[in-house]
């Protein structure tokens, strides 16, 4: 059929980017009717592993944590890394959530400690949102000066409440299977959830607080079951890269060019509650000069 004739651009991305990327795909495909963008969403770590370990063909990888690209893809599968958006963690809930009427910035952790409250987060091993949720809890222990808070909170969160990617929790909230869930602000906005914003000191949304964030660390599984690596706290910064042996580099660059354009892709992100970096950032001049030609004007160097 006519679909088969179109060239495809395969984009792997963090689950939290699903809604804006769906819009961007639609806009981009309208502009380039000969290109079909095919997206596959999941926990960023998992998506990166699918490229690095399983060799699944992909053109672009957009991660909720740019570190994932550095650690899993560079240098074998990618050469560079563009940071293009930020985010912050919020505690999401609905009208029907237990104690929703009492929830405030001062007592949220008390509510999460209640026995009959069901709350959860995504899998730290598969999804940056998962370990970031844990980091928020660790930072809260320090910020509110409540030693042992983290362990007590975790003790009240059975393993069953951990799902592979954060956006799955949205459905559980909405069907009333779960009362509270840790999500990115953007996800909460996009899905029309009620949410509680937290102080900058603990929400991982402000890069100026990176020194405080650094105190949090979470162990996650490594390249094979049983091994572990440590993730330390850092502000939520989204990264994107082009996969080295991409099947369709031309189309991929075209899409990336569209995505990183302040009036196009980045504007969609902005509209959907996710603050973009305008312009997008790379770490060094050397990296910038290594970018495909059309992307260079859309980026600045900022370590």
């Amino acid at each position: 059929g006519p679909c088969a004739a179109r060239e495809t651009v395969t984009v792997f991305h963090a689950g939290s980017l699903t809604v804006p990327f769906a819009q961007i795909e639609k806009d981009f495909e309208a502009l380039h009717p000969d290109i079909d963008v095919q997206r596959e969403a999941g926990g960023s770590t998992k998506m990166a592993r699918m490229i690095s370990e399983l060799g699944k063909p992909a053109d672009i990888m957009a991660s909720a944590d740019y570190k994932v690209i550095d650690k899993n893809l560079i240098p074998a599968k990618a050469d560079w890394n563009i940071r293009f958006a930020t985010n912050q963690l919020v505690l999401c809930y609905t009208d029907k959530s237990r104690f929703a009427d009492q929830l405030s910035g001062d007592n949220w952790y008390d509510i999460l400690l209640k026995k009959d409250v069901v709350w959860g987060h995504s899998d730290p091993n598969l999804d940056p949102c998962g370990y970031r949720s844990l980091m928020v809890l660790q930072l809260a222990e320090k910020h509110y000066g409540k030693p042992g808070l983290y362990d007590r909170l975790i003790a009240n969160r059975p393993k069953e409440n951990v799902r592979p990617k954060s956006v799955e929790l949205v459905s559980l909230l909405k069907t009333g299977n779960m009362d509270y869930a840790w999500e990115y602000l953007s996800v909460a906005v996009q899905h029309g959830l009620k949410y509680l914003t937290l102080p900058d000191r603990i929400n991982l949304g402000n890069y100026k607080e990176d020194d405080f964030y650094k105190q949090a660390s979470v162990k996650v599984t490594g390249k094979k079951p049983g091994t572990q690596i440590t993730r330390t706290g850092k502000s939520c910064t989204y990264g994107i890269t082009l996969i080295k042996d991409a099947p369709n580099p031309k189309g991929a660059v075209l899409f990336m060019e569209y995505l990183l354009h302040p009036e196009k892709g980045l504007k969609v992100l902005q509209d959907m509650g996710q603050p973009p970096f305008i312009p997008a950032r790379v770490s060094t001049d050397q990296v910038r000069s290594g970018l495909p030609q059309p992307l260079q004007p859309l980026t600045v160097v900022k370590p």
Binding site: G15, P57, V167, E168, V170, S171, K174, T175, H191
Partner: protein, 249 residues
């Protein structure tokens, strides 16, 4: 005794129907309409129907002779073959996908052969059809085998005594008497195939069949966006199967 029977039966019917009707009734008509205008949704449902129909067709072509063999001949190792036919029912779905990818890659002689012939399994319609055929085959073969067994061997003997070759006998006697079971078998095979998710999601995330899309929408957007797709898929399947059953009755 009767009371127990009826209440157990009612419980089972409720257990099956309650979750499904609740789900079907939840989306508003507006949601349903909007979903149907989504080209991706239409494409996914079409692909689901198309690939499972294709699987049913393959089952028909290759499964019919096998079903006939199982229905008519006695041979050593028959029990084993019967077990093999039922195997796809008990193999966990992700394993099916993994096993298919295992022989489809360049690391396997078969994969190289296919690759050289330009046939791609991973992420292709071919791959989806293969996986769906795998899971649907037992349903076709078991149904049609029972259909063949219901045709008295005597009719075939008489036909041959009247001069018809085995092939002529099959097409003039056995097939006309068993074709209904083949239609039912294809419906069953298609029904099973259209429901498959776990094996397909491993072999082909794209092109997206409806169950994968429903899963994706559920995990990424939530219930509200997956339900209408699910409702449409269920409706399309129901209509299709009712039509086929009607046609074959």
């Amino acid at each position: 005794m009767l009371w127990l029977t009826v209440s157990c039966s009612a419980l089972i019917i409720a257990f099956i129907l309650l979750p499904l009707t609740e789900m079907v009734l939840q989306p508003s008509l507006a949601d349903l309409g909007e979903t149907l205008r989504d080209r991706d949704v239409r494409r996914a449902i079409q692909l689901s129907i198309g690939t499972s129909g294709m699987a049913a067709l393959i089952a028909f072509v290759f499964g019919t002779p096998f079903a006939y063999l199982l229905a008519r001949k006695q041979f050593p190792g028959k029990k084993f073959l019967e077990g093999v036919v039922d195997l796809p029912i008990m193999i966990p779905h992700p394993i099916i996908g993994i096993a298919m990818l295992g022989i489809a890659g360049r690391n396997h002689w078969l994969g190289r052969l296919l690759c050289d012939a330009g046939i791609r399994i991973m992420g292709s319609v071919t791959g989806i059809v293969l996986v769906l055929t795998f899971v649907g085959l037992p349903f076709y073969i078991n149904t049609v085998r029972a259909g063949f067994e219901a045709v008295p061997t005597r009719l075939e003997i008489v036909s041959r005594s009247l001069g018809a070759s085995p092939a002529a006998t099959f097409f003039r006697i056995t097939f006309p008497l068993a074709w209904r079971s083949m239609v039912v078998g294809m419906i069953m095979c298609m029904a099973r195939a259209v429901s498959e998710f776990g094996a397909v999601v491993i072999v082909a995330y794209h092109p997206m069949i409806a169950p994968v899309m429903i899963y994706e929408r559920f995990t990424a957007y939530g219930l509200k966006y997956s339900q209408p797709v699910a409702v449409w898929l269920i409706l399309v399947c129901l209509i299709l199967f009712l039509l086929l059953r009607h046609f074959s009755a």
